[in-house]
């Protein structure tokens, strides 16, 4: 078993898919010689040439829209926004074009594109480069949304995303890029819409995704020392949501904490919380609690940024609040 960082794992997944299918192209800023700021496409230009490694001008709106047009013609573009925060200038092609094209044409045309975007705080990137923004995408019918937490998952999921016939938003936490982990041998694909129970427990379920999975596992180990047995579910995919996994765990532990890094108000954690309330009310032994980022602009100053998003201690506090211990 070899170890790989998440950025290398995503690179490997994309590389394999580009070798497998000549319709797969990468589109975005600095994709060529530089190989993207995180080295995701390093060497791709030499290997696949400028026809398949489209290094764009800083025109997020149109290179995203252009990718929608190419996808309608059978190309499978993997578009990169350098930071998810830039979606503000590229939202129309995602929200009104890619997401709606199949439905509006009565099923005639698919938009098999992937929009990759780094998310997350913790790198002192301040207000416009530190957000998560999952709910902007999960809110829109027609989009699938993926947010892996490990290198192995990231590789298997990016391959599934490339092969999927729907537009897939692939959210990569910047602080996971450098973390190395074991990689499975050989070629593999992880299907979209399948959660992973990363830790089994009986007292309380933590539902989360992306970097907060790591924090939740840390919190769970701490809580175990106090005799609290925590189950941690890594959703991996937000749309489609693996409801069966949530239902099974909630029916077992009866107590739920949903953890997300992004702003608490109108977050995806709130969506999960509502669904549990609607359908699993009688299973609950306590109100579902959200541990989430503050409803503030991501601050620059390190102590302020550290207070902005949840850490393991916040998760521990959330679990104790739910269990009233």
């Amino acid at each position: 078993m070899s170890k790989l960082s998440m950025s290398k794992a995503i690179r490997e997944g994309l590389y394999e898919e580009m070798l497998r299918d000549e319709n797969v192209i990468v589109v975005g800023e600095d994709m060529g010689t530089m190989g993207n700021p995180f080295g995701i496409t390093l060497g791709f230009l030499d290997e696949f040439g400028p026809n398949r490694v489209i290094e764009t001008p800083i025109s997020e709106s149109s290179f995203t829209g252009m990718s929608v047009g190419a996808a309608m013609r059978g190309i499978r573009p993997v578009v990169e926004l350098m930071y998810v925060d830039f979606i503000g200038v590229a939202m129309d092609p995602i929200m009104n074009q890619a997401a709606k094209m199949r439905y509006m044409t009565g099923g005639q045309v698919n938009v098999p594109m992937v929009l990759r975007a780094p998310i997350g705080a913790g790198r002192r990137n301040a207000g416009q480069h530190s957000q998560c923004l999952e709910p902007l995408f999960t809110h829109i019918p027609g989009l699938k949304v993926v947010a892996p937490s490990t290198p192995a998952d990231a590789k298997g999921l990016i391959k599934a995303a490339v092969r999927d016939d729907d537009p897939v938003i692939f959210l990569e936490h910047k602080l996971l890029y450098a973390i190395k982990d074991e990689m499975p041998e050989g070629e593999y694909v992880i299907p979209l819409g399948k959660a992973n129970v990363v830790r089994e427990g009986k007292d309380v379920t933590i539902i989360t995704w992306s970097r907060q999975v790591l924090f939740a596992k840390e919190a769970a180990e701490e809580l175990a020392k106090e005799g609290i047995d925590v189950e941690v579910i890594d959703l991996r995919t937000l749309v489609p949501l693996d409801w069966e996994a949530i239902k099974a765990s909630v029916s077992k532990t009866h107590n739920v904490v949903v953890v997300q890094e992004g702003y608490k108000r109108s977050g995806f954690a709130g969506e999960i919380s509502s669904q549990i309330m609607e359908e699993l009310f009688d299973e609950l032994d306590s109100p579902v609690y959200r541990v989430a980022g503050l409803n503030v602009v991501p601050p620059f100053s390190p102590p302020l940024e550290d207070a902005f998003f949840p850490n393991p201690q916040d998760i521990i506090a959330g679990v104790k609040k739910v269990l009233e211990v």
Binding site: E200, K202, H254, F281, D282, E283, L284, E324
Partner: protein, 411 residues
């Protein structure tokens, strides 16, 4: 070595059982074959026996909890033995100190919100309902609302039998249903699992299925004669009137298939087989074993089968399969001297036949003469959602025809 006690499969259709009552506490010695826990399904109440001699080391499933078949219920082993509980049900591992430790939970009084509403978690509410506990009786909790643990703790510490509630408790439990306060000398007994099941199912039937009961009287002279003849011939079985009615009702149902049916959501299921349930009274309640495919069986076969089922019922040895799948039920109270009664349908069936005693009466024959005859009242309750009066009347009159002249069954 520790032995795991699991939820038994009591029939093909059983998928889970509910823990009704623990008959032993953690730390109690148990002997092989000794019942340790009472379980209920929607059909029956049963006891699980210990498979080995030893001590009850751990209770994995609390009272009121639903456990899937083969799910872990308890662990029995040597006194003081350490037990590793695998998987999801890692409940308190019992050593001798354990019960004391559990009792030492920090509790505080129940907080009531404005207007006196008690705060309670949905799961706790459900658990309390299952255990038949009035939430207003619970006065001590660990958190800010009544949770499942609080209900379980209350249930375990509650005096089990013959304990009259204190005056203050009776006042506090001002539930909407009328409360009967026992006076000195009254005996208060908790409802048995079977009584609770019967109660639940009868209420369910009455509120779900609009009942209509049709009554008629049949002259059973020919039936009596036939029974006498059959019993003279047969050596090994003694046929009862109920046995004969099973056959007659089954045959009649073949002609009125709409009454051999069940409502399932927005659909009506017309059953291919005619499976007749026979109500059997027991000391602790009532069970309804099933004669399967009665339409294809003869009098003797039905009689033999019914006898065996009733025997098992009295010994509480019926399997889930023998209690499941009835499409119609017969309840005969003739043996108790009852003239006639309105039976309650055993859902999801659509009809039930109530049978009264045979009584000699003056009757008017076809020549307008008053002659003595043996009469039996037949009362058919049917579910008005499934059929209307005409069709039910057709079934009842067909049964009456067969009872009055059994030969007609073969015409």
């Amino acid at each position: 070595m520790a032995t795991e006690i699991k939820m038994p499969q009591l029939g093909l259709t059983m998928t889970e059982g509910t823990i009704a009552a623990w008959l032993k506490k953690v730390g109690d010695p148990v002997a092989k074959g000794e019942p340790i826990v009472e379980i209920t399904t929607d059909k029956l109440t049963n006891e699980i026996e210990s498979e080995v001699d030893g001590v009850l080391l751990a209770i994995i499933a609390e009272e009121g909890e639903d456990v899937p078949v083969q799910g872990l219920v308890a662990i029995v082993g040597e006194p003081g033995e350490k037990v590793e509980v695998s998987g999801e049900k890692a409940e308190a591992i019992a050593t001798e100190e354990a019960p004391q430790a559990a009792a030492a939970v920090a509790v505080k009084p129940v907080e009531k919100s404005e207007g006196g509403r008690i705060k309670v978690s949905p799961l706790a509410k459900k658990t309390a309902e299952k255990l038949g506990i009035d939430l207003s009786e619970i006065t001590e909790i660990t958190g800010s609302r009544i949770r499942k643990e609080d209900v379980i703790r209350y249930s375990e510490n509650k005096p089990k039998t013959e304990a009259a509630p204190t005056a203050s408790a009776a006042v506090e439990s001002a539930a909407p249903a009328p409360v009967v306060a026992p006076v000195a000398g009254d005996i208060v007994k908790p409802l048995s699992g079977m009584r609770k099941v019967i109660g639940k199912r009868m209420v369910e039937s009455k509120v779900t299925a609009p009942h209509v009961t049709l009554t008629t009287e049949a002259n059973v002279d020919k039936m009596i004669a036939l029974r006498t003849k059959l019993n003279e011939k047969a050596k090994d079985v003694r046929m009862s009137y109920t046995d004969m009615l099973v056959k007659m009702v089954a045959t009649a149902l073949l002609h009125v298939p709409m009454m051999n049916a069940s409502i399932s959501g927005d659909n009506l299921i017309l059953h291919r087989d005619v499976n007749i349930g026979v109500a059997v009274a027991l000391d602790e309640g009532l069970v309804v074993p099933v004669v399967k495919n009665a339409e294809r069986k003869g009098f003797a076969e039905i009689s033999k089968e019914a006898k065996a089922l009733i025997g098992k019922a009295r010994e509480n040895k019926l399997s889930m399969d023998e209690l499941s799948g009835a499409t119609f039920t017969i309840s005969n109270l003739g043996g108790f001297g009852i003239d006639a009664f309105n039976p309650i349908i055993n859902l999801p069936e659509s009809g039930i036949l109530g049978v009264g005693r045979i009584v000699r009466k003056p009757i008017v024959n076809e020549n307008d003469e008053i002659v003595p005859g043996s009469m039996m009242a037949l009362s058919l309750s049917f579910d008005h959602r499934v059929v209307d009066g005409a069709l039910a009347a057709q079934l009842l009159s067909l049964i009456k025809d067969y009872v009055e002249d059994p030969d007609q069954m073969y015409m």
